[in-house]
């Protein structure tokens, strides 16, 4: 069904959602922040 194929093609075109360098930097920054907080929590536990 052509109409469905066109919609699937449009959907696939939207992926990946984000590819920018900046996103990766922010993403890793968040990741590290959360790991740091987890580390602090383990300290507090100890």
């Amino acid at each position: 069904e052509n109409s469905l194929l066109r919609q699937v093609s449009s959907l696939l075109r939207r992926l990946p959602a984000i590819e920018s360098e900046k996103f990766q930097d922010d993403f890793l920054m968040e990741y590290n922040d959360t790991l740091l907080i987890t580390y602090l929590a383990m300290f507090t536990n100890c």
């Binding site: 696939l12 075109r13 992926l15 990946p16 959602a17 984000i18 590819e19 993403f27 968040e30 990741y31 922040d33 959360t34 907080i37 987890t38 602090l40 929590a41 507090t44 536990n45």
Partner: protein, 313 residues
């Protein structure tokens, strides 16, 4: 039948008002039912206040030992530690709003007030307690609801509390411990001094068939919004505040520990030991709660990244 709760029985309400069953039982009201409409309006209004406290009134009725909140409206009052009757224009607004409502066929009376505690939990401060006690003297039945919009975002569920104060001088039996919540250091005293002057009610929610239909329609939008937002990004300030608060508490605990070791005027060794533990235990619990929320936020980011960014054409 689920919509029957929206029917307002004026005669029944009047009769209940006459009987005043709450007058001789300070613990009479035990439950609160909040409509989806009122909850949404209150939470959105609280969120719109940012870090400032906002407040409003709730309209509804009673049903036995339950207070039913049907609707809510915001008051043009802002500021920290404000009383609901803090400004004349708020009063004027209230009266006008209630009267117009009656004209529009909305018969419910004002049954309480709500206000927000952005970032510092759902409880009643000293000034809140006196405000509520005043209202319970002259406007019964009256309920106090507190909403924390910041923690709502961080925890991903509505942080809300409903309370009623005890009469002056009343000594409550030992309350069952309500759900533990983190109280910031600069609020602990205000919380601690007054926490025995009121009790929490059990909150449930209800929605009308129209609500269900509307919420179904909005489901996709809600789902997409949730998916495309991240509590990690939205609540950075709040988390930073939480961690600095933790650091202060740790410092305080350490000072007290050192202080007690010097042998100042302190209770017996066992009592001190117990006190410090509970303080440290609370600090550890606070820290674990923050971390859990952060890790949840990170998990959702990682899952989204894997699902939507790893697909290559």
């Amino acid at each position: 039948s689920s919509d029957s709760i929206f029917y307002y029985d004026e005669a029944g309400q009047g009769k209940f008002q006459q009987e005043k069953p709450w007058a001789n039982d300070p613990h009479y009201f035990k439950r609160v039912k909040i409509s989806a409409l009122a909850l949404l309006k209150m939470v959105v209004h609280a969120r719109s206040g940012g870090t400032i406290e906002v407040m409003g009134l709730m309209q509804g009725k009673t049903d036995g030992d339950a207070i039913i909140v049907m609707d809510a409206f915001a008051l043009p009052v802002e500021g920290t530690e404000t009383r609901v009757n803090a400004q004349a224009d708020a009063y004027e607004y209230m009266v006008e709003y209630s009267q117009t409502n009656k004209l529009a066929g909305r018969l419910e009376n004002v049954v309480g007030w709500y206000h927000s505690h952005p970032g510092y939990g759902c409880w009643l401060s000293g000034i809140d307690v006196s405000t509520q006690m005043l209202n319970q003297q002259f406007q019964e039945p009256f309920l106090a609801v507190v909403i924390d919009p910041t923690r709502t975002v961080s925890a991903g569920k509505v942080e809300i509390g409903a309370f009623r104060t005890y009469p002056e001088g009343y000594k409550p039996p030992d309350d069952p411990v309500s759900e533990y919540q983190t109280i910031p250091l600069n609020k602990i005293e205000d919380f601690g001094v007054h926490c025995k002057q009121y009790y929490a009610l059990d909150i449930t929610y209800f929605k009308s068939s129209l609500d269900c239909h509307l919420l179904d329609l909005l489901w996709n939008k809600y789902w997409v919004n949730t998916l495309s937002s991240s509590p990690l990004l939205g609540n950075g300030d709040y988390v930073a505040g939480q961690i600095s608060d933790l650091a202060e508490k740790l410092e305080q605990a350490e000072n007290q520990l050192a202080h007690s070791r010097l042998g100042g005027i302190v209770p017996g060794p066992f009592q001190r030991k117990k006190e410090e533990e509970s303080q440290l235990a609370k600090i550890t619990r606070d820290s674990a709660k923050i971390t859990v929320e952060q890790v949840h936020g990170l998990m959702s980011q990682v899952i989204k990244d894997i699902l939507f960014n790893s697909v290559r054409q």
